[in-house]
Point group: C2
Chain length 211, copies 2
Amino acid sequence: MIDVTKSFILYAQCAISYDGRAKSELQQGNYIIMHKSDGSIMIHGGTLTTPLNYQPPGAILKKIENILISTRKNETLTIRIYDIKHYYQINEWSTHKIAIQYTEDDLREQIIKNIDKYFTNIAEIHKEFQTPFGPVDLLIIEREDAFHNVVELKRKHANISACTQVERYVRYFTECKIKCQGYIMCPSISKGALNYTKSHDIKFIGVDFEK
Amino acid sequence: MIDVTKSFILYAQCAISYDGRAKSELQQGNYIIMHKSDGSIMIHGGTLTTPLNYQPPGAILKKIENILISTRKNETLTIRIYDIKHYYQINEWSTHKIAIQYTEDDLREQIIKNIDKYFTNIAEIHKEFQTPFGPVDLLIIEREDAFHNVVELKRKHANISACTQVERYVRYFTECKIKCQGYIMCPSISKGALNYTKSHDIKFIGVDFEK
DNA sequence: CCATAGATCTCGCTG
DNA sequence: CAGCGAGGTCTATGG
């Protein structure tokens, strides 16, 4: 009845065990099992957005009597089926991608477009400027003294780890004898992070998405 | 036919738009829509583990003619249905929780059990020791001089942000005039992070889960 | 309620 | 392939 080579939705009384990156047991109950043509498989319970168990794309599904086994590298997901309540094979399932607006990239482009609002005397603008400690979201180098403005962007909310991120880059430039200033530019910031900026010489600039 | 007060699986030709934390459009196609009793709703395409669109628990679903609308705070998900291919109402869906082993917690307990392997002269052991910059995973205070060993744990892999995390705590204790040493203890570490530990006086100790 | 950090994170990108 | 970082992250936990 179940065709493991196809996409399907299964509602069944079953118990699940997983062994691989971690190890888990899910007691017997009624769960939804979703299988896709890329090999991914998810077990959903009656609450939450995220699946209880899953395997990512690339897994291979097999069926031995009443047991479904999904394997991938060193990971194994085992589904013991006791009672099938519903089965539906999915045909012509679309694989379109979603288009998202208002990403961190969009925010950066907007800031660059209006760069004169925030910085003056600009010689160079770099996106994702590579350092040994990771890429700087936005680097603005000034004329003459080559002062470096090191900007960490967050699409929405900055927390304390955004502060230490920009600090890391500032310390790198300082160690290279380059004069610089760290910035956080985003729509909002946590109270703890704002305190951190004030006591660690990081400038916070609030920016919002243009409609 | 569709009862928005119940849990259900729907396979339909539809188009989806979302507005809230970001903004997205998903072109018309055949998608699986899963709705749970906690209000969460997911739209799945034919590939990937993660849903294309979703609303987390607490969202409220309504139906106006052939349009499903899920709202939550300032977020709206709109599903325009053109053709229902399959509908199944889910009854008696289990909400059991999953039991996972080999978590960061398990690793910490294992290290504490074998603490004499790593540290000597121990006076106190603290889990999740609170500092203004966040909680220290494991804090081991020595006798007499009250030297603080500040340990950051990762269940699997440490990267550079784990380094700055432990640095943040070390700096806090140093500012409090407490002598300390930062550690990263985990099964593996990235090359960049390892370099960082060497140049920033952090000690890396490799630990693995006992079988 | 906000803030923080883990996760079998997933996913995409870059080297 | 690894490594790094974003994400409408989600989710659990603590203040």
